[in-house]
Subunit: 258 residues, 2 copies
DNA sequence: CCGAATCATGCATAAACAGGCAAGTCTTCA
DNA sequence: TGAAGACTTGCCTGTTTATGCATGATTCGG
């Protein structure tokens, strides 16, 4: 039994019964409670359940919408690691624009509570994922909501963004390549990202290793406009060199800790 | 039985019966009264109930400071019934503003797919709840996101709303009373609702029966400004007469089907 | 004002917990 | 084929949490 498979089963059971008990799960899957605890901790970090003493509770149905993107995700672990690493670069008092996308939602969910940030986003799921009572101010940019991308797009969104001047843009990339730069699958999404890129003082891109060296059809930014690239080192160290030569600071998540 | 689960059950029972007795609970859950007392103390500290000698009382809805997330999934059945009834009044081509609140999110989730609506909302969860691929256009109003109310509030939100002219406003009420009118718990939420009321051509209020005849601290609309009131008939038929006299059309959900 | 019930608090115990460590498995690359 | 590295898992450590019981203090009803 693969750990992901086990987690999927736990998720099903949460849906069905509303709660799970660590001990029962350990029994059922014939693994130690430690392993189950690790699973539950991981699932909770992705917003798939609420961790409680002794087990976990299903998140109320309405809250689950927040994680729809992550739920579909095949590699939540990697994204969560990326997000955690990215979070460590957010400094107290910063104004940070959080782009749409599952990795960014994961980032919103694990913002450092001890810092006080002003967060801007056009992604409702990200706004809702920010843990309440943490002192972060969240400003949501409106517009036509696109269920496909999980973000607000269109002219209204663009014109609102033009009034902003964030210290940092945390950009999710569909593809990033030294020559093609940052690219996206959706033209409107790309337009918003492009607009964001012109407004922010600094740009940090989050991209899992499989996106390095790939290009989607719609251009967002020149690679040179990116200041930092957070990725998982697992693969493609060779490819990273080209980014470094463009003056991009490479942040390795996964092996190094936050 | 997980301790958090126990507390949730106690909460449900408070909702249902209005009070709980420590001894009964200890019996029911097979724990000591001390444990129940600890639960009740904790719940009271979160404002979920009022501690009294021998047990606890449900706080009137107007006094609960439950987080939005907690409030959201109370009595999903009733809310869903209300929402379904409300949905039957939405006509093809209408521009509908959907207010924040759990009942409204339920409405967004079960909009009639065969009709094509333009939906406006300042509630991200509602926008995300609209089933994709149904042909409804969703426009999300931005602003400062308040985790407490689950909606965008503040001046930005207000000024965006002023540019709108929806055919129908579906308003969630924290309290509705023939004399006090529609009221809300949060001043900013009330300000947004008030603004909405001035823009819409028609106003439909969704309110579970427990909110009828109650008033929260902040005024939203005169009762006379409401065109339709969707509620569950379960209780307070006497109270309904006063609304009818104000020219409000009363829609009963629950008994009658959609 | 009295007895009984209820309560808050401190303590002891057992369970659950996070984090670190090491053994085993799998993949990757030479 | 074999070595290196990532991942998973179980176990160990000390810490935290939930619970029941004992002890006085408080509250209630008469």
């Amino acid at each position: 039994m693969l750990s992901r498979e086990r987690q999927a089963r736990i998720g099903e059971r949460l849906d069905r019964e509303g709660k799970v008990v660590a001990q029962d799960l350990a029994d059922e899957f014939a693994v130690s409670e430690d392993t189950i605890r690790r699973d539950l901790r991981e699932m909770a970090a992705q917003g798939l359940c609420e961790r409680v003493y002794g087990g976990a509770l299903a998140r109320p149905p309405a809250l689950r919408h927040e994680s729809f993107a992550q739920r579909r995700d095949r590699e939540p672990r990697r994204k969560s690691d990326l997000a955690r690493k990215a979070a460590s670069f957010l400094e107290d008092g910063m104004t940070v624009f959080i782009d749409a996308g599952s990795t960014n939602i994961a980032l919103a969910a694990q913002l450092p509570p001890e810092r006080r940030l002003t967060l801007l986003t056009h992604c409702p799921a990200a706004a809702m994922a920010v843990t309440p009572c943490t002192g972060h101010a969240v400003h949501l940019i409106g517009g036509r909501y696109s269920a496909e991308t999980g973000a607000c797009l269109g002219s209204q969104t663009l014109s609102e963004i033009e009034a902003l001047r964030p210290d940092l843009l945390v950009l999710g990339a569909c593809g990033i390549d030294p020559r093609a730069g940052v690219t996206a699958f959706d033209p409107e999404d790309a337009a918003v990202k492009r607009c964001l890129g012109t407004r922010a003082r600094s740009v940090m891109v989050l991209a899992t290793a499989d996106k390095l060296g790939t290009a989607a059809p719609f251009a967002v930014l020149e690679a040179g406009a990116v200041n930092r690239l957070v990725t998982d080192t697992a693969a493609g160290d060779a490819g990273l060199e080209a980014f470094r030569e463009l003056g991009i600071e490479i942040i390795a998540a996964g092996s190094g800790d936050a």
